[in-house]
Symmetry: C2
Subunit: 211 residues, 2 copies
DNA sequence: GTTATAATTAAGTGATTACTCACTCAATTA
DNA sequence: TAATTGAGTGAGTAATCACTTAATTATAAC
């Protein structure tokens, strides 16, 4: 199991171990089904120490979710697209999109178990939905909006579309790509991710009708 | 809470009540966090009777998921698209896509809490993923494949694309539309679903570049 | 080496869980 | 009318849960 980089949180050794094991078990079984006993065993610490560092089990989840959403969303989730959109305004749209999609897939890959926990808990709890919306979705939409507007001004991308629909379409294509790889990977093997992304971009940019 | 139609399962009154309450609570709190006590209370039956009809709590989940996937996937999930693709081969692609997307959104709306449970449990358990893949995804792909091939033969849809990518793109656009409505509905209000769907179809069909 | 302090543990705690079982009682059959 | 049934109950059960605490060990200062 690849571990997630938690350096930014300034944890001591035990705290880090507890969080890593919690991320692993929450993502494997869901929050409710993962027990403190299991977490302790996996982390190689006693059960008592968990509750020294985290008042309750829910606080572990909060540390994983809210903390990371708030503190790291900027660095992990948004910095990548910001940089690409900023530095590549002159490049052609295919290259930019490819960079963004590639970068996002790699990013989610890096933090996957955590992303899965956020995703699942967001479905169940409004507070987490709020954090995801305000810290990630909203900001990503703003960044994309700026980018699209400039591309449309340059007459590269269509003006007569709803940017929200386009954003959603690109986002959903990335999401389903990751889902297919991570959740249904058993049934769908990609030999060449690069080519796969190219095909996705082609459909996004040109549509599926014969022109 | 709108109840899901379970007539097809030939349940008696108590079984039906137990399943309806389980669907409600599993979708609200997740399987593990929903207790048999709560289910009994919500269903207005004693806790004992739950375990007369369902050997274990997991068996309730199985009844909801596997049974419904196997028995109803054909009628609920696939029949709709089959009919539309079969009856509308002559119509224009825009109309067909609109019918399909509209129909799929309505279908998921109808069974939403159950769909959410399937979705979440499929992430956690391989057996459920298998059932979803074999009974829904695989079959839907086959149906779409036939349809796309015929449309491509008529020179309406592009031949030089990967049908899998197109299928995924349409599916993901429908999925994110539903997710936005059901999970993030608080932040995004659609006044006119009809127009929203038109915009999605426009992007799918024509892409986003200036031609 | 002694002492004070902090870190860690193992053995708990009461609460809650999924599940059982002895019993009830209305409906059916003899 | 008496005998039988079986759906339904809810208090009870062992197991397990999140969480606590008293005892133990490690660390550090002198």
């Amino acid at each position: 199991m690849k571990k997630i980089d938690l350096k930014e949180l300034n944890l001591n050794e035990k705290e880090e171990k507890i969080l890593q094991s919690s991320i692993k078990l929450f993502s494997e079984k869901g929050f409710s089904a993962a027990t403190s006993k299991e977490i302790a065993k996996d982390a190689g610490v006693s059960e008592g120490i968990i509750f020294k560092y985290f008042k309750t089990k829910k606080d572990i989840l909060k540390a994983i979710l809210l903390h990371l959403i708030n503190i790291l969303s900027e660095k992990i989730v948004l910095k990548g697209i910001k940089d690409i959109f900023k530095n590549d305004k002159e490049c052609d749209i295919k290259t930019v999109l490819k960079k963004v999609i590639y970068d996002r897939i790699k990013m989610v890959d890096k933090i996957y178990p955590m992303a899965q926990i956020i995703f699942m808990e967001a479905i169940l709890h409004e507070e987490i939905r709020d954090a995801v919306y305000n810290n990630i979705i909203k900001k990503a939409m703003e960044i994309f909006n700026d980018f699209y507007f400039q591309m449309a001004e340059k007459n590269i991308l269509r003006k007569n579309v709803d940017i929200m629909v386009v954003f959603r379409s690109i986002l959903s294509n990335i999401a389903i790509f990751i889902a297919q790889k991570k959740i249904f990977g058993k049934y769908f093997k990609f030999e060449n991710i690069d080519k796969e992304i190219d095909k996705v971009i082609d459909v996004i940019l040109n549509g599926i009708t014969v022109q």
